[in-house]
């Protein structure tokens, strides 16, 4: 599973970087616009370790933010599956808040919480939370009629049982949604660091941009891609194990 993910990433990254180099040489652009392959290599040798540590810092915040989002989305999703006023309100709020561009809201968060861990965590959570919540809502509000009908008729249906049935019946979909939202958590953390934090790979990319150093950015993107691929594989593996356990 891991090697397939990495292989896919290397293909995408390779296509991207080869195309960039082709454009550079076709249009005869200087190293200022697009760095040469040698410059990218030398930069990679120079900054790889330091950037890897920065990416791990970002990834750790993204993972914590992702876990918080999953937890919150499941709790809120369970409440919002009710066809009561609260349920409807939560659904409408989720749709509306998701429509706000986080880049516009982020500076306010940084003013309130400063540029430390809390802001990065909150923004990472916000970016992956709302899409996650909407997907989980979709799963939890969809009755599994043929199974639920039996428990309803026999008067043994409880809300816990209802949630369990719906999760069990949609476990593959749920794992896919959670895995997919992991990339959003990573993106959210990088966006937060890019805007105002003082740590992580987003902050490092910001500095490289100030220095107009595209080679550093290409190296950062490579490490981000590998790390995200590994995280996605871990999630898929955990989902696979969970599924196997549940299905006996």
């Amino acid at each position: 599973m891991l090697h397939r993910r990495l292989y896919q990433f290397f293909i995408v990254y390779g296509i991207g970087i080869c195309s960039l180099f082709s454009i550079k040489y076709i249009l005869n652009l200087s190293d200022y616009v697009i760095p040469s392959p040698i410059e990218v290599w030398l930069t990679a040798v120079d900054v790889f370790m330091r950037y890897s540590v920065n990416v791990l810092d970002t990834l750790s915040v993204a993972i914590i933010g992702h876990v918080l989002s999953i937890f919150m989305a499941i709790v809120v999703g369970i409440i919002a599956r009710l066809t009561t006023g609260i349920g409807t309100l939560i659904k409408i709020a989720a749709f509306n808040i998701q429509a706000y561009p986080i880049v516009a809201v982020a500076p306010i968060i940084f003013i309130l919480l400063g540029d430390g861990l809390a802001s990065r965590l909150l923004i990472a959570s916000m970016i992956c939370y709302f899409p996650l919540l909407l997907s989980i809502l979709g799963i939890l509000t969809q009755p599994v009629s043929d199974i639920e009908h039996f428990f309803q008729m026999t008067g043994r249906m409880t809300w816990q049982l209802e949630v369990k049935i719906r999760i069990f019946e949609n476990i593959s979909k749920l794992i896919m949604v959670i895995t997919g939202s992991a990339t959003l958590a990573m993106v959210g953390t990088i966006v937060a660091e890019f805007i105002a934090a003082n740590a992580g790979i987003g902050y490092t990319i910001r500095i490289a941009l100030y220095q107009s150093d595209l080679a550093k950015i290409l190296v950062a993107l490579f490490i981000i891609g590998i790390s995200t691929s590994i995280y996605l594989v871990c999630l898929e593996w955990m989902g696979h194990m969970l599924q196997k356990k549940w299905e006996g």
Partner: protein, 338 residues
């Protein structure tokens, strides 16, 4: 599946390249340059007063040129746009120019807009006393890591033999809260732009402000200049000359105190979020930074002068801080007009 991938990968590369290449404009000098695209360094504000004045008062039209002035921004890089053929002229800071030259970019400097770098550090004299650079010792100094304020501050500390471990650097971003709260003693600011706005706010709160100016401490780091490509200069020398003349004459007019009211109106039209009361203050300071040669009557004609010594000093600072790996002989890229 493997066969499919083998076909898909080259196809994806070709599609990507076709899109990218077609989105690049015509390379400068390949044919006519009408209309001319002029990319500024920052959003429309007082630092582009002369550029906007040229547009409003038909300076380019009188030279037979059609010019689109495009605002810059944090992610815009005029030099890259010149190379990609999306712009014919642009505004870039000296550190951008020197970095670009060090990486083989065929850029030429035409006009130096600011004779004194507007980048200074704001502080509160009630909390901090800065009478000489030595007073920076043990202060919390805001810098943008990777920005030119970092280069200037490090050069200043080095010049006055203040160890970097004797000051505390604070990473600065968009939010001024750490300065307002007093967590940071000195905050980097553009003297002719945000400084007027922030200063007014603090003075209204009875909190006096002062500025630490690296230029007066002997650090000459060149700020914004107008640039083009060597190819543009070679293939269209007349266009370059006309553009430069139009721009310089417009800047001189815009800095002329007799035109103050009309300039404020022009800048406010493009920058409606800044009030005319603020712009009038900004304009005074901009005049002092662009024409610091005594009064306007005597000094106006020297607007745009390329300060060769300051450019060399800027190059040396960048070299000493290893922001470039070898000398670039920047004087070869400065186009000094008669």
């Amino acid at each position: 599946m493997k066969n499919f991938l083998k076909k898909l990968i080259p196809l994806a590369m070709v599609v990507f390249m076709v899109i990218a290449i077609s989105s690049c404009g015509q390379k400068n000098g390949s044919s006519s340059v009408d209309p001319i695209n002029y990319r500024l360094k920052w959003l429309f504000n007082i630092s582009s007063a002369g550029d906007l004045w040229a547009d409003v008062n038909g300076h380019f039209q009188r030279q037979g040129l059609t010019v689109n002035i495009k605002p810059g921004g944090p992610e815009r890089d005029a030099i890259r746009e010149l190379e990609l053929g999306r712009a014919h002229f642009g505004v870039a800071s000296a550190d951008q120019v020197i970095r670009a030259v060090s990486k083989g970019s065929p850029v030429v400097v035409l006009v130096q807009l600011f004779q004194i770098n507007p980048l200074q550090w704001i502080y509160r004299p009630q909390h901090v006393t800065i009478e000489s650079p030595e007073d920076l010792t043990s202060k919390n100094i805001g810098i943008t890591f990777g920005g030119n304020d970092e280069t200037i501050m490090r050069a200043l500390l080095s010049k006055y033999q203040i160890g970097e471990n004797e000051v505390n650097f604070f990473s600065v971003r968009y939010d001024y809260t750490p300065f307002y709260k007093g967590d940071v003693d000195l905050w980097p600011i553009y003297r002719n732009a945000q400084a007027v706005i922030i200063g007014k706010r603090l003075q209204e709160a009875n909190d006096p402000i002062a500025f630490f100016d690296p230029h007066s401490a002997g650090i000459r780091f060149v700020a914004n200049s107008v640039v083009t490509t060597q190819k543009m200069l070679k293939d269209h020398p007349e266009t370059v000359k006309k553009f430069t003349q139009a721009l310089v004459s417009a800047w001189i007019e815009a800095m002329d105190p007799t035109n103050t009211e009309k300039v404020i109106e022009a800048v406010h039209h493009f920058d409606p979020d800044t009030s005319p009361e603020i712009i009038v203050e900004q304009l005074k300071i901009t005049r002092d930074l662009t024409i610091p040669f005594g009064d306007f009557e005597k000094g106006g004609q020297f607007f745009g002068k390329i300060d060769l010594a300051a450019w060399k000093e800027t190059e040396n600072m960048m070299l000493n801080q290893q922001l470039i790996h070898a000398p670039v002989n920047i004087e070869q890229y400065l186009n000094v007009w008669d």
